[in-house]
Symmetry: C2
Subunit: 345 residues, 2 copies
DNA sequence: TACACAGAGCGAAACGTTTCGCGCTCGCAA
DNA sequence: TTGCGAGCGCGAAACGTTTCGCTCTGTGTA
């Protein structure tokens, strides 16, 4: 149905090779160039990427496997990644692992069948076995936001540990000692952030009683319930660290429905992905993740690997070049608002 | 690098045709079947979908073009769509139009080059020109959540008009007459919802003063600012209709920061996509959109079209079968909470 | 005038599958 | 014993590109 290069051949009288040359930016006589352009216009010709891919063995598709697509963090990254890849001539094929390692493994296999040229992965679990089919296919892989055991992978992530360390440090510097944490132990970034917090608390010799440690999912629900419970304690905390965007959302809702005021009665700091900073009143003090940067760096790294792969698979001396894996750890930024008050107790 | 059918041929001594038959579920001697399975296992063979696609002229990829990927509504739909398509053996290739009609048109062209088998589109604008390349390629298209001028397209959407009509009707039935609307005129669903509201207000002979009509984007920001402004009016409304999830989020934040109480001082009803219903206190009365249903119906419709296309392109009598386009309008559900109070004024 | 060389076009093979139509074998019935 | 048909397997063509190496033309140089 659709026009092919052959139709253009018939229309212009030129050979397939010449037309292909045109499509790939070669030199032709202006006269022939015009003929081809006219034919393309008239026939609405579009290159069949499947045929092209078959012979070049490049699909010009990048697989993106995310731990969970239905949240703001992921979607925002997807937007930035998609833009970047498109500019470079690649499509992205997105697969949602739904927080399930089994699904994740299926996704990788699936994408291998589709012959993707490279892979961006925000992994669900902590071990890298599921990537085996991709390693075997020898395509570049960049991990995003979370790393995997054993390393050896290219990876772009946020320095969660330092950022949460500093966040809690800030609470302490305002005199707080009764500090609660709403976070997650079941997600990679949650664990990192938790460790950062605990590390500082340890250094400051502050004990955190179990009822101040609210671990669950990175969800609105967990944030909401946890904050409710914290406020109902006999001795509620004077400050709360909130582990991600959804938790903030839930926690702030719970707080607003209570009699407590921020920052008068309780101080807040949280890990954010987005715009909430502009909104709430008082403005929240936030750890802001560099989402655009995160996505851009990951995309650039992958594109560079693809370039390298095509360019020189072997070093000049004939020896196999062993590539160093690159691990980029981006700092998060603490944006001060008015949600932390000096603690007098 | 990767194993091909040819390697299996060499390993088993069988012919390409036989192996292909195996891959496509044909009958073979158990003995040969075993040989092939063993070879596949050992060589880690995976079908090269590009080669397959070239000959079957099916890419087994569905293009999904969304008006804006970075929001909860879209992401949730994407999750459901993706699941459905995967089950049916299709991958989805997602393109974000970023609310820009130019980008949207590019997306369609791009996907045509990728030879997608079908298209799900949540369109940005109101006119269908941008779909022309897809129409020319004669692949099935299903519009989701928003329709286009001139129709003739398959389409699955929510009955926004009736739902918002009923929502405001409910406010009225509680005695409210000073009703404000926070919504959008720049988005298709926003317009539909607005019309539903206005229709009921007209029927009830209720005037809506301009300062009660807050039109902007479907964003947290717009919700937040609008609610702030409403509450600062000399004569604030006694009830507010909120046009979507993000608007609710912002509006509720603003409300919680104010001295106003819901439902004592102000009643609320809003269009939701998600879980907020379970959380806020008092529980919001909500118009809940059937997201799963929306996605499933759209996916099923598209898959059916793909089936039809392959099965019988022509009717038995040899005449071209003109397919009726299908327009599914799903009802939204009003879930009662405690956010509406009888109005005594 | 002869020669070399650059630039442009061409034919054919290759990429990894599917599919069509033919031929072989085997078992069963007459 | 012969004949027949079902069930498997096979060879070859086809899908729409790219690419390699060849030929041809025309220009500039010795």
């Amino acid at each position: 149905m659709a026009a092919t290069i052959k139709d253009i051949k018939d229309m212009t009288g030129l050979s397939l090779a010449t037309i292909s040359k045109y499509l790939n930016g070669g030199n032709l006589l202006p006269e022939n160039r015009e003929k081809i352009e006219k034919a393309i216009e008239e026939l609405h010709y579009e290159v069949n990427e499947m045929a092209r891919g078959l012979v070049t063995s490049q699909s010009k598709v990048i697989g993106v496997v995310v731990f969970n697509i239905a949240n703001v963090f992921t979607c925002t990254l997807l937007r930035f990644l998609g833009e970047r890849f498109r500019e470079a001539g690649y499509a992205s094929m997105i697969c949602d692992s739904q927080n399930d390692e089994q699904v994740e493994a299926d996704n990788i296999r699936f994408l291998m069948g589709k012959k993707v040229d490279g892979l961006i992965v925000i992994p669900v679990g902590r071990t890298p076995e599921f990537l085996e089919p991709a390693l075997r296919a020898d395509i570049p892989i960049v991990l995003l936001d979370r790393s995997l055991k054993g390393s050896g992978f290219d990876c772009v992530m946020v320095d969660n540990r330092t950022a949460s360390y500093q966040a809690v440090e800030m609470l302490c510097s305002y005199g707080h000692r009764r500090i609660a944490i709403i976070g997650s132990e079941s997600e990679f970034t949650g664990r990192e952030r938790l460790e950062g917090c605990l590390q500082l608390l340890k250094k400051e010799k502050i004990d955190i009683p179990p009822e101040y440690l609210k671990l669950g999912l990175h969800s609105i629900e967990h944030g909401y319930r946890s904050m409710q419970e914290l406020l109902q304690l006999e001795v509620p905390p004077t400050a709360v660290f909130m582990g991600n965007f959804e938790i903030i959302l839930g926690a702030v809702m719970a707080l607003n429905e209570s009699a407590f005021q921020c920052p008068a009665d309780i101080s807040l700091i949280g890990f954010d992905d987005l715009i909430i900073s502009n909104l709430s009143n008082p403005r929240l003090t936030l750890v802001v993740q560099p989402l655009q940067d995160l996505a851009d760096r990951a995309a650039d790294l992958l594109l560079r690997r693809l370039e390298e792969g095509r360019g020189a698979p072997r070093a000049e001396d004939g020896q196999q070049q062993v590539m160093e894996n690159e691990e980029l750890i981006l700092p998060a930024l603490i944006v001060e608002g008015d949600s932390i008050k000096r603690c007098s107790e």
